[in-house]
Symmetry: C2
Subunit: 301 residues, 2 copies
């Protein structure tokens, strides 16, 4: 397999940037680490804008809607415009509305938090679950209490800090009993990094449903899965040949780019290390890699 | 594959009973259906006792300790003696104490309810989790809040009606960070029947840990897995040749008996139907089957 090209000086950066019109950019590990902006990142994004590039920030994290992400960009003082954010919660709402044409007389049962429900609202999709099932007292509850809602035509499961048995039992019941009920995940990341460690992610939250139903989801809207790219390509009328995916994770970001025939740039500010892509047995290899996306800001000077 | 023998009259029953000294009997679907005793079941058990048979009630349900099961038998007016109950919660405690000799200076982190903690207490095993982590308010919580308890040397996960993200995050952290931390499940049933339907079971509750850790449990203490039989054989000094497993589920009860070289009797009062074992492609076949364990009570008359 061919080795990735390392970008390390101004002429490398120029040649790389000339190849693409649009950059899909992962957030955590590329733009910021939790609440700390990667050095020179603001300047690097400013350079891309000055060169007339289209930017789209593409994140698997479904905890935030586009509105929620915008707040985070603004709080971290990073320039951001409407239409530049594409999180997995929005991808899920977009997919339901524009790809599967979810019927307006049906509802989505949501295992997840406000990031998901805000995006469903933005697309005019009716939903149940989410905040309404956060409070669950098992002491006065029996299995017979679960009321079937025949209007539920899809279950959408994302990361849910308020997961409980009631949500699992309801989601399971709809998927098992409601004819044609769709089973969608915002993303299938088994873990995510936080506080210097990792914790169970959206894919782990969905695992009880997959296990109990013995059924895989109909679609997963996060990277590296194709439905998310289908949404992006449709919405932005992208030319994949002139588009590059920039990310820090091989199994999500880089694989997403490879699967979609996009260019790929790995940054080393997140979870992947240089040795991971240079190893003899490396399986997922980006076209390019760079120490940090902040490095291209040197072109500004 | 040989066909199972159907027991349907007094001489069938006599010949069957003569082959075994000990009967391991599943509860739900054999003795009772939720809170209704199967017809003639009390009389059938009375007959077995009169013939001097040893009885052991073996259940995967970890929601009840032996004490909890005893109450249920008494409430349903079914004769029961100390030492006749072997649920997966007790099997887990027995396994920790007698098979792996769990160190007394270590604790078990419990994802589960009172059935499990009562049995750990009965065996003098220290634990954390369970009731102490039922209350979880995500609003003032951060991932940095998770305190490592270096004394946790095992995670034991069973069905947990009060499952929440805090328990998953803690269990995951111990299994990932504490050297040698054991990963045990009381059972791996993906679903269980209730109120005329099914719901996510103990195996589903454990799925986020298996997914996030990308690790299978070190032992599963419920049927059809061998560790449960190891505990029963050690505790009762059983002779497998003179022991018969009686149950209503092929994939748990009957497979458990087959795996342990026990005799097997399927009853048709639970989830399995006659066509399931007579089909050409049937894979798990009991030695014997009977409409209901209550039928053998006719020998009393």
């Amino acid at each position: 397999m061919s080795k990735p090209v390392k970008l390390s000086n101004a002429s490398d950066y120029e040649a790389f940037l000339d190849k693409y019109d649009t950059f899909l950019i992962d957030c955590d590990g590329v733009i910021w680490l939790e609440n700390i902006v990667i050095p020179n990142l603001r300047e690097a994004l400013s350079l891309l804008r000055k060169k007339g590039k289209n930017l789209l920030f593409v994140s698997n994290n479904s905890a935030k809607s586009r509105k929620g992400y915008k707040k985070k960009f603004e709080k971290l003082n990073i320039e951001i415009y409407d239409g530049e954010i594409f999180g997995s919660a929005y991808a899920s709402a977009y997919y339901l509305k524009n790809i599967v044409k979810f019927p307006s007389d049906k509802k989505v049962y949501v295992v997840g938090n406000v990031g998901i429900t805000e995006e469903l609202e933005s697309e005019g999709i009716r939903y149940a679950g989410a905040a309404e099932d956060v409070k669950f007292d098992s002491t006065d509850w029996t299995f017979a209490n679960i009321k079937q809602d025949p209007e539920v035509g899809a279950v959408l499961c994302g990361f849910d800090i308020n997961i409980n048995y009631l949500k699992y039992a309801k989601a399971y019941t709809y998927l098992r009993s409601n004819p044609g009920c769709l089973f969608l995940l915002t993303n299938d990341d088994s873990t995510f990094p936080a506080s210097g460690s990792t914790f169970p992610g959206g894919g782990a939250i969905a695992a009880p449903l997959i296990t109990a139903l013995d059924r895989n989801p109909d679609a997963v809207l996060g990277k590296p899965n194709k439905p998310m790219l289908d949404c992006i390509v449709q919405k932005l009328s992208l030319n994949p040949e002139r588009t590059c995916m920039i990310g820090d994770r091989l199994s999500t970001d880089i694989l997403f780019g490879i699967n979609g025939n996009l260019g790929t740039l790995l940054v080393l500010t997140g979870v992947t290390e240089e040795k991971d892509i240079l190893a003899e047995n490396a399986r997922i290899i980006p076209d390019y890699y760079i120490s940090s996306l902040g490095d291209i800001a040197t072109l500004n000077t």
